[in-house]
């Protein structure tokens, strides 16, 4: 049950956070967009991006301190794979205008055909990628 309950609770909490961003700030919580949109000369209109990212880091930090067992996992890829993966994720999310949070968590609830297409695409390609790597 833990593999249903924790994910479900975590998912709802993610929903709450993205709902707050929309209800209070009018912003879509697409992490790739929040980060990507900050890669320029920052003006005061961008401070919310920095605040969100700092909150993200601080939240993980708090949990790391009180429940370090939540972080007992390894990064099994080689450094080269991490670099390749990072660049692909960075470039791809900007080109595709979103990631799992932007298109998935925020786009699907809006019944956006664009987000549905994006989500199905990155999910399918990721599944195929994992399959190929396992051969």
């Amino acid at each position: 049950m833990e593999n249903v309950q924790n994910p479900l609770i975590g998912g709802i909490i993610i929903g709450v956070a993205s709902t707050m961003m929309l209800a209070f700030n009018g912003k879509i919580t697409g992490i790739s967009g929040i980060i990507g949109g900050a890669l320029k000369k920052i003006t005061k209109d961008d401070y919310w991006r920095i605040a969100f990212i700092l909150g993200l880091i601080f939240g993980a930090f708090v949990l790391y301190v009180i429940s370090p067992h939540l972080f007992q996992y390894e990064f099994k890829n080689s450094y080269l794979e991490m670099i390749m993966a990072g660049v692909l994720v960075g470039y791809g999310t900007r080109l595709g205008s979103g990631c799992t949070s932007g298109h998935g968590v925020c786009g699907l609830p809006r019944f956006s055909a664009r987000s549905l297409t994006a989500t199905l695409t990155f999910m399918a390609v990721a599944v195929i990628t994992v399959f190929i790597r396992n051969i």
Partner: protein
């Protein structure tokens, strides 16, 4: 107020990611491993988040403006174009390799694991490369 609530939202979002297990690459790769030993956890994360937002967004759409802002920044682009497909595909490949997407990538920085840091630096590099080459995607 925008800034304070952005910080709070980021904080809560992070709690959700970690509690859901989404910062653990094994959980992501496990979910994507539908042809092998499948870990269904991510389905419940996405399901929980999406269902919650279907309901909350319905309610939010009835409001005239956000609480601390002037307008809702609903996305305006509805095109399903090659940028969307190619971009999503490239993201999918990267995600399938490391099992990390932007949110968990940033959250994992607190582990101070060098690989997590390398991932984020590479993520920023990839985004920067896009910014500098974005004009190549514009049709003439």
């Amino acid at each position: 107020m925008n800034i304070l609530f952005s910080f709070i939202s980021g904080f809560i979002f992070s709690l959700g990611l970690v509690i859901a297990g989404m910062t653990n690459p094994d959980k992501i790769i496990g979910f994507l491993n539908i042809f092998g030993e499948w870990d269904y956890a991510l389905a419940f994360v996405m399901g929980g988040a999406v269902i919650f937002n279907v309901l909350s967004f319905k309610f939010i759409k009835r409001q005239n403006s956000p609480l601390f802002g002037t307008k809702f920044e609903w996305p305006t682009n509805n095109d399903i174009d090659k940028k969307l497909i190619i971009g999503s595909s490239l993201f999918g490949i990267g995600w399938g390799i490391a099992g990390i997407c932007p949110g968990p990538g940033v959250a994992n920085l607190i582990t101070l694991n060098p690989k997590a840091i390398v991932f984020v630096i590479s993520l920023l590099l990839g985004m920067y490369i896009f910014k500098k080459t974005e004009h190549l995607w514009i049709k003439k």
